[in-house]
Amino acid sequence: MSNKIALSKFQLDALVEVGNIGMGHAANSLSKMLARKVQMTVPYINFLPVERLTEMFGNVEALVAGVYLEISGDARGKVLLLFPRDSALALADIIMNREVGSTTILSQIDQSALMEIGNILIGSYLTALNDFTGLKLRQSVPKLAFDMIGAVMDFLIIEISSVAEEALVIETQLTEPSNKIKGYVIFLFDPGSPELILKALGVDK
């Protein structure tokens, strides 16, 4: 089996649609948690050579909070949520009921809150995916890092390199009305998993 995945435009569109539905659910959960309207869109879905992953974001030294989860079950993959520094701090302020802008350093509790956001977002996404495809998917305990984006992402490239030449990247952008919070969700499916999802959707041919 080739480790490069060839998908038709139609199949990519199907994956985008699943992504949109999943992210719709995730955005609803997050809107409730933050008591403000959060929107999530899937602006980008593509295959990238694994070494080029960090360069998607331009400045690899920019500070981000990263929440990392692994997906297992009928399909396997990894998810990384990235919040630019200011967004991560604003998120923590909103969840902890502080004035936005009052935090400059993430406390232990803030960090737990960000991990919980990761849990909820990915949980609702996977639930939607399960409703849609019947695939049973589990998520691992989240892990957090707050550092330069290159440093936060390079272990992902290392892990993916051993199983794939290219990564299927579903990049989701998260926005809300005050524009204080931006975020990205990157799904990396292990080889074989996109095909499994497409098969479950009935668009494997």
Partner: protein
């Protein structure tokens, strides 16, 4: 005049004989390896991703592997006139970036694995490591000035350490 730093991107390397500042930005579990010949300014930097070919499906970029990258840098430096026995190394990176709220059974971490591979290769080639800043839980930017032989490690909180 300050030279414009040359960025050594992930999974690549750069060897120079003219004065330069080489920089690997945002090293997490990757390892930055600097080799230089004292006095001559012949030097190289590699931004290493993996220990060796066996950890990668794609084998077409030898610069991303610890063993191959160090050999390639050494060869290129010798071609530029460096004397093998005068070459020394400085290394940085190999962190474990993510903390978990629940303890998880961990295999040898990818960062540690990279550091071990770099050290093993340098030992095999009799290249002394004269300074290192490895492991830990923080990302690093490694900056090397070939004129002074000095490495600066920049952390996300703007602190700087000199190796």
């Amino acid at each position: 005049m300050m030279e414009e730093p040359i960025t050594v991107r992930i999974a690549t390397l750069k060897v120079v004989s003219e004065p330069a500042v080489l920089v690997s930005r945002g090293l997490g579990s990757c390892v930055g390896v600097v080799l230089y010949e004292k006095g001559s300014g012949i030097a190289g930097m590699a931004h290493i991703l993996l220990p060796s070919e066996e950890f990668s499906l794609k084998k077409d970029m030898p610069e991303k592997f610890a063993d191959k990258a160090i050999e390639i840098m050494m060869d290129q430096m010798i071609q530029l006139g460096a004397i093998r026995s005068r070459i020394v190394a400085k290394i940085a990176g190999g962190a474990r970036m993510f903390i978990s709220s629940a303890p998880m059974p961990e295999r040898v971490h990818v960062g540690e694995r990279n550091v071990q591979a770099v050290k093993k290769k340098l030992k095999e080639m009799n290249v002394p490591i004269i300074a290192e800043d490895v492991g830990g839980t923080r990302g690093r930017t490694m900056e090397f000035d070939t004129k002074t032989g000095r490495v600066k490690i920049h952390l996300a909180d703007k602190t700087v350490k000199v190796l």
